[in-house]
């Protein structure tokens, strides 16, 4: 148990070792460790944020989906409604057209009947004139008796 030069050597070695640790070991280990700690914290925060965003996005998507569904329902209702309306309109139009056609047909029939009656009257007039001529044994001058004939025809 003696004190000798070893003491000085040990002190120098100690000083050198502390210097080395302070310069090259400590900051190069603790620095990256703190940096990594920071990055991990950031990553965790980002993950939390992402999860939160995902939740919000899911809620948003649900809202959009619900809205779309509602709108689709409304559109469907409207379509149904307008279809019914179109059918109703078509039915009304068809009824009107039918009515119109019926009226036209009736008018045509009346017209035809009147024409036929007119023809018939003329023919009856002619027949009557012919019959009268035969009866009188001479020809009736249509020109001379035109007024008489027309009056006769109108009576038929």
């Amino acid at each position: 148990m003696h004190i000798n030069l070893t003491l000085l050597v040990q002190m120098l070695a100690f000083a050198a070792l502390v210097w080395f640790t302070m310069k090259f070991v400590w900051p190069m280990i603790l620095g990256p460790m703190q940096e990594r700690e920071r990055r991990i914290a950031q990553g965790l925060a980002a993950a939390d944020k992402g999860e939160e965003e995902l939740k919000q996005a899911r809620v948003g998507a649900e809202a959009i989906l619900r809205e779309a569904r509602e709108r689709a329902g409304v559109i469907l209702d409207q379509a149904q409604h307008s279809a019914n309306e179109i059918i109703e309109q078509a039915r009304v139009a068809a009824t009107q057209e039918g009515q119109r056609l019926l009226v036209a047909a009736q008018q045509q029939i009346e017209l035809d009947a009147a024409r036929a009656r007119e023809q018939l009257r003329q023919q009856v007039g002619e027949i009557a004139v012919a019959a009268a001529a035969k009866l009188l044994e001479r020809e009736i001058d249509p020109r001379a008796h035109a007024a008489l004939l027309e009056e006769f025809a109108a009576q038929i």
């Binding site: 000798n4 030069l5 070893t6 003491l7 050597v9 302070m22 090259f24 070991v25 280990i29 620095g31």
Partner: protein, 287 residues
């Protein structure tokens, strides 16, 4: 036990207490003598510590090691633990304290760990290559432990003066613990205070060094004494029942002491580190 046996015991113990030095030392202090073994092993362990930690540090700083594993995890664990200890005790901002604490803890632990190597392993190898003595535990050398505690002491003085100023430090040394409002009584207290405070300050490096030295010296001495159980008899003793008994006893006791010593060497390294940080923290505090 025969006379030659006890002589052999004396020789064996003395051999384990003798350093490998350039010349025998007779006076207490002689700065022409150097203990090669202490210097060799402490520098070897310093290189082991600094080299391994630097290897990890360089890999971490270059960013090639992203996820910690293996030895890097261990290094990070130690560094973080030391950092926590220092932050608990030392509240200033001094970039020296934490690296100093790490160096002290690791280096002292490695010093002490040499004590767990079989007590005759390295000295035996040294004998075969022609070295007369070899002490393998650096913290078992007063030069080594004072080589740690004296720089710590100088640092506390340096920071005391740097932080408090020479005047402040002198006031701390002379104006407490005894104080009086009366100027004359206070003047009377000054030498008493100075004496008390000087003892307080001087006792720190002394106790720091001797606590470690004492523990390691005792630890190694017990290993040496346990080795004596079978040493005196040599291999022929294995032919007798009592010889086997002694051998088994040595084995069991050495193992038990080794396990206990594992606790001591860690604890002593920890105490050395913590007390150093405490002393430096006190040096930074103003009253």
């Amino acid at each position: 036990m025969t006379a030659s046996g006890s002589a052999r015991i004396g020789e064996y113990v003395t051999e384990h207490l003798t350093y490998l030095s350039n010349k025998p030392q007779t006076s207490l202090i002689n700065f022409t003598v150097i203990n090669y073994d202490t210097v060799f092993f402490s520098v070897l362990l310093a290189v082991l510590f600094a080299g391994s930690f630097y290897w990890v540090a360089r890999r971490m700083a270059s960013g090639t090691a992203s996820a910690p594993r293996g030895f890097q995890s261990f290094v990070e664990l130690v560094v973080e633990w030391v950092d926590g200890q220092v932050k608990d005790i030392f509240h200033g901002t001094n970039p020296l304290i934490a690296p100093l604490a790490l160096t002290l803890f690791c280096w002292v632990f490695l010093f002490n760990f040499m004590d767990l190597l079989p007590v005759d392993l390295l000295p035996g190898i040294a004998h075969t290559i022609g070295l007369p003595h070899l002490k393998v535990v650096p913290s078992n050398d007063l030069n080594c432990v004072f080589g740690l505690s004296l720089p710590v002491f100088f640092l506390t003085l340096y920071y005391s003066i740097k932080v408090k100023g020479a005047r402040g430090f002198l006031a701390e040394l002379t104006l407490q613990p005894f104080t009086s409002k009366n100027v004359f009584v206070q003047a009377l207290f000054v030498p008493i205070n100075f004496l008390l405070e000087s003892v307080t300050h001087l006792a720190r490096p002394l106790s720091l060094a001797l606590r470690l030295f004492g523990n390691m010296f005792a630890g190694e001495m017990i290993f040496v004494l346990l080795a004596l159980l079978t040493l005196v008899h040599g291999y022929p003793m294995l032919g007798t029942l009592s010889g086997w008994g002694l051998a088994i006893m040595q084995l069991v006791l050495t193992f038990a002491w080794g396990v206990f010593h594992l606790l001591i060497i860690t604890l002593q390294a920890f105490i050395f580190m913590v007390l150093t940080v405490v002393y430096l923290s006190m040096a930074h505090e103003r009253h």
